[in-house]
């Protein structure tokens, strides 16, 4: 038996995944896998960074679980002021919808956008979680750094390699 109280997610933006349209079937297949992980490991609290791509897919999976009536505390760890200011209108609207579904919103830093703040946000989430879900192709970058940090903290990592997501 495995029980994970608090899980956080790290993963790529769309450019390292499939297409930009999150309705694409790989994203939908991955979302179902994420839901099954949350449910089968009894996860009760999740931290998500709310970036485009995996973060928002994960948040959406959590929202769908919450809508079934299952208790799940969804916590947005927002890296900085105006994370969404350069996104297009649709993305901003969707981001605000997801935020409105969160049980808690934490502004990790109060500074304006800077790439290194994403890493501070990642460390914050890892430090506050029991385990990390990494949707990671193995390349170096923000996700790779986050996995390395979790390893240093001796936290369990559930890794999903995007290339192994099959849509039959």
């Amino acid at each position: 038996m495995l029980f994970i109280d608090t899980l956080c997610v790290t993963g790529h933006r769309q450019d390292k995944l499939w297409v930009y349209d999150m309705n694409e079937k790989h994203y939908q297949a991955l979302k179902e896998i994420i839901k099954s992980i949350i449910i089968s490991y009894g996860v009760r609290r999740v931290y998500v960074g709310m970036a485009l791509g995996i973060d928002q897919l994960f948040a959406q999976a959590c929202v769908e679980i919450k809508l079934t009536g299952r208790p799940l505390e969804l916590i947005a760890a927002i890296p900085c002021q105006n994370q969404e200011c350069k996104w297009n209108k649709d993305s901003q609207n969707y981001y605000r919808y997801l935020l409105s579904m969160c049980d808690q919103k934490i502004l990790v830093t109060d500074a304006p956008y800077k790439p290194y703040l994403m890493q501070i946000r990642n460390k914050f989430m890892v430090d506050n979680s029991d385990a990390v879900l990494a949707i990671w192709d193995g390349s170096s970058g923000g996700t790779g750094n986050c996995v390395g940090y979790a390893e240093d903290k001796i936290k369990p990592i559930i890794r999903i390699e995007p290339s192994k997501i099959n849509v039959a």
Partner: protein
């Protein structure tokens, strides 16, 4: 809070770690980290493959914990007949000692030694565990195959990277002691 019922251990043989002398101080540092993983995650059952290197080190960590009175089921998953027959006598004796300390011994395959049986054994211990502890340098080999197999089963991996295990000599109370350290780079 995290609770892992059954953990399995995979990792390198001594040639990719710090050599065949288990008195080498890095092994002791690693063993203490393994013990802290087992106690802090409330692990109740550990599957080890009993190979030289990481496998036996983790078995020893479990034996140490059992001797403190911790309730811990240590299960040896023996890959094949005569697993130890090519080892030197001292290694065979140590292997037999560790086996004697196991709560259960499972002969995963009844065939004589064959390299691919190690992989069968590894998959067996991963399948029977909730999470995998991987002592892994990151390069492609049997340990990497285990990490990949675990990931494919959507099971958590706790990875310890050998090069991050640091033995730090410190001057303490007038004598030079080895002190336990893990650093982040």
């Amino acid at each position: 809070m995290l609770f892992i019922d059954a953990l399995c251990v995979v990792g390198h043989k001594p040639d990719k770690l710090w050599g065949y002398d288990i008195a080498e101080p890095h092994y002791d540092v690693l063993k203490e980290i393994v013990k802290s993983v087992i106690t802090s995650y409330g692990i109740k059952r550990v599957y080890v493959g009993m190979e030289l290197g990481a496998g036996q080190l983790c078995a020893q960590a479990c034996v140490d914990l059992k001797l403190t009175g911790l309730q811990l089921e240590l299960i040896a998953a023996i890959p094949c007949q005569n697993h130890s027959c090519k080892w030197p006598e001292s290694a065979q004796n140590y292997y037999n000692y560790l086996l004697a300390m196991c709560d259960q011994k499972i002969l995963v395959s009844d065939a004589p030694y064959n390299t691919y049986l190690m992989q069968v054994r590894n998959q067996y211990i991963i399948d029977n565990s909730d999470a995998t502890l991987a002592i892994w340098d990151g390069y492609a080999d049997e340990t990497a195959d285990c990490v990949e197999y675990t990931a494919g089963k959507l099971k958590p991996i706790i990875r310890l990277e050998p090069k991050k295990i640091i033995v730090q000599p410190v001057f303490d109370a007038g004598i030079l002691n080895e002190k336990v350290f893990v650093t982040e780079d």
